[in-house]
């Protein structure tokens, strides 16, 4: 029988893959993809906890939808920032975009 631990291990693996993509990628858009993967794994955790621990009240699913809303807003603004940066520097490599690095 599939229990909560199965979903937790799956979400943990997904989070770690997303972390690897977010930390170790050179392209800014690839880093964004890793962040999206991490947000998705957290959503999977929320829905799984709601399903297995407290299925009567669907607060976990509502929270997952809030996370999806924030992720959509983050992606739209983040891609706009990357486009503006590309227009200015003709580059999306994070190794060479270090204006704010001290």
């Amino acid at each position: 029988m599939i229990g909560l631990a199965h979903y937790l291990v799956l979400a943990g693996l997904l989070f770690c893959i997303g972390l690897l993509g977010a930390v170790a990628k050179r392209n800014a858009i690839a880093v964004f993809m890793g962040v999206e993967l991490m947000l998705n794994s957290v959503n999977l955790n929320l829905v799984a906890f709601n399903r297995f621990l407290h299925p009567a009240f669907l607060g976990g699913q509502a929270f997952a939808i809030f996370v999806i809303v924030v992720a959509a807003a983050e992606v739209s603004v983040g891609l706009a920032i990357i486009l503006a940066l590309y227009r200015r520097k003709a580059n999306t490599s994070l190794d060479e975009i270090d204006l704010l690095k001290w």
């Binding site: 770690c16 993509g21 999977l44 407290h54 997952a64 809030f66 739209s76 603004v77 486009l83």
Partner: protein, 191 residues
């Protein structure tokens, strides 16, 4: 029994898609694998009885965010696209950190005994979630709307770029200037 098979099939698809997304060298292929991963996660939601979250996942992630990523990739292409998704110099260290984090998560999740609720009845969750949004979480719901509006305006303002350019101002300043009729069309042409 069928649920167990479905879980393992979808979980394997999710993990394979995520690994392919991170380790492929072509950024467009990475976006495609990301869309497939999101679709499989939506199936997992539906398998857990969360049909509305699964539908929102398909609509927002697979339908909108993946396409937005493809737009971003196409508009910022620089070198050859086959070589656009490289690791930086922190690749080995990040692999070690992610592996250690995954090991700790597995140890914690396997070593804990959780409650196991009975499977969901199969009713639609839309009415319950709508009731939660408009009663318990109504303030957060309104703030989510404000956040979406702010993100919409912010994305337009940031992505719009500069409106008036310097050569245009120079042409306008050299041609017009003495008659007010000459200033009218040039001002109308300026967006």
């Amino acid at each position: 029994m069928l649920g167990v098979i479905f879980f393992y099939v979808f979980a394997a698809a999710v993990v394979i898609g995520a690994l392919a997304m991170v380790f492929t060298k072509n950024l467009v292929h990475a976006a495609l694998f990301m869309a497939g991963t999101f679709l499989m996660i939506a199936f997992l939601y539906i398998l857990m009885g969360a049909d509305y979250v699964g539908a929102v996942q398909i609509l927002v992630y697979v339908g909108a965010i993946s396409i937005l990523f493809v737009f971003g990739i196409m508009l910022t292409k620089r070198d050859r696209i086959e070589d656009s998704n490289r690791f930086n110099r922190y690749g080995p260290a990040a692999t070690v950190v992610a592996g250690l984090l995954f090991a700790s998560i597995v140890l914690t999740a396997v070593g804990t005994t959780f409650a196991n609720a009975p499977p969901p009845t199969g009713d639609s969750t839309i009415q319950t979630i709508a009731g939660i949004f408009l009663s318990d979480y109504v303030l957060a719901f309104e703030f989510a709307g404000i956040l979406l509006l702010a993100a919409l305006v912010g994305a337009i303002v940031i992505g719009k770029g500069q409106l008036s350019r310097k050569p245009r101002v120079a042409v306008q300043g050299s041609s017009g200037g003495d008659t007010p009729g000459g200033g009218g069309p040039s001002k109308g042409g300026e967006r």
